[in-house]
Symmetry: C2
Subunit: 235 residues, 2 copies
DNA sequence: GACAAACCCGTACGGTGTGCGAGTGCTTTG
DNA sequence: CAAAGCACTCGCACACCGTACGGGTTTGTC
């Protein structure tokens, strides 16, 4: 049977090799991950794709929209375990760590995340799985499930924003982590005169193990928050 | 006694009325608070001050440095109560609320906060008073004091970043809060097909009271976190 | 062969931060 | 009183940005 005007799909010229939204998104992700949000311009992106700058606008309405696509791409990388596997509490812990490491892989995310609403498909799927996980905790009302999940996301994103910020400062300085940290501490020490508590706090931070320190920060607060949430579930 | 080269201060031409760093900072703050970070450009700022664009560069090395000054200005607005007044727990609660409302007054802060280290004088003073407050809680080690304070700041900043983001989206839409919220919910509802938990979650949020909802979010998580922290102090 | 759809892109516009160097008024010095 | 020098202002220019516009090329369907 011949296809009617209704059934046949518009397919004029798909042959010659062409730019595609997927390809643009993929390349933009590479640029963003390696050069940060300041390193992404439509002209540079197009050049890297061997195309003219304004060609991109055929596939993507606007740079902001492109960034939206990239953000949603990140949401897809995040694990949210099913509560049956290991229970709510450790599931939430795992979710938190997964969210953190996704942001560490894409350190530009905090800078752009808040500029537009997150209602892409992957954001939705993430939310869905999160609600299932937190729903299994046994909160008294469904509303509390929303609140609990929201507070965990806020905590993780807040912590990891600060973390990413320091890591980016190290990276941009172009120096070694060790030397950056030690100079930073020195500088902080010198600014902290007249502030005894701060001075002590800086002095305590003699560790050169930046990774370990940041992870400890993260885990400490997340544990405390989850403890507080657990106290709110019905016994 | 005649002043020597060493004692005399350089004071060549302070007479004619002139731009000042304070004035620039103050005006920039007004622009930022009312138009957001995208609305601040050196040219516009200079115009508002009745000056040429590049005149500003005499008083401020760079736009980024200007923003640093503005950030530190915000830190000065935050209350950190002395622990003697109401105890650690309610002091921390008050600190959190104070931090939140400062950010709500300066919604541009999350966007720029993480781009440079915060080691201005007001940031230092804030840290100092915070450490005193959290120090009174009775954590086992001083290191835990650092961790506790850090996690509260991260939670507050994370939550309020999201909050500010939605408030800014409402503002930029130019529409009424009510109409924006209801359209947003509608849109979310339509995207949330196939996601039953999300759909339910959106359906639950029938409240038009955005303020109340955001405050509830904030308080819920902060309470939980403080509960979790309190469980870590020595009995 | 005609037509249209899909796609590419050069040009241009209005914006950005800021380096440079010349100019202008004031204070101090000789 | 003249000269020197400092504090400060600012027009111009450069390199970059996002993207609207409109004409061009390729490909497929009639």
């Amino acid at each position: 049977m011949r296809e009617t005007i209704w059934t046949r799909q518009r397919s004029a010229a798909p042959a010659r090799e062409t730019l595609s939204r997927e390809q643009i998104v993929k390349t933009a992700m590479e640029v963003l991950d390696s050069e940060g949000v300041g390193g992404l311009s439509m002209r540079k992106l197009a050049a890297r794709l061997g195309a003219g700058a304004t060609s991109l606008y055929w596939h993507v309405p606007t740079k902001d929209d492109l960034v939206d696509l990239l953000i949603d791409q990140v949401w897809a990388e995040i694990d949210v375990p099913e509560p049956e596997l290991a229970g709510w509490r450790s599931g939430a812990l795992l979710f938190g760590h997964s969210l953190r490491s996704a942001v560490l892989r894409h350190p530009w995310l905090p800078e752009v995340m808040y500029t537009r609403p997150s209602i892409g498909p992957n954001a939705m799927a993430l939310g869905e799985r999160g609600l299932v996980l937190f729903g299994a905790a046994g909160f008294v009302t469904p509303h509390e499930v929303d609140l609990a999940m929201g507070s965990v996301m806020s905590y993780v994103l807040g912590t990891v924003s600060a973390e990413v910020a320091t890591r980016e400062m190290v990276r941009k300085s172009g120096r070694s982590e060790e030397s950056w940290v030690s100079e930073m501490l020195e500088q902080a020490q010198s600014v902290a005169t007249d502030y005894p508590q701060m001075q002590e706090s800086v002095r305590r931070r003699t560790s050169v193990d930046l990774d370990g320190e940041l992870t400890e920060n993260f885990v400490f607060g997340l544990d405390a928050l989850l403890d507080g949430l657990q106290a709110r579930v019905k016994k």
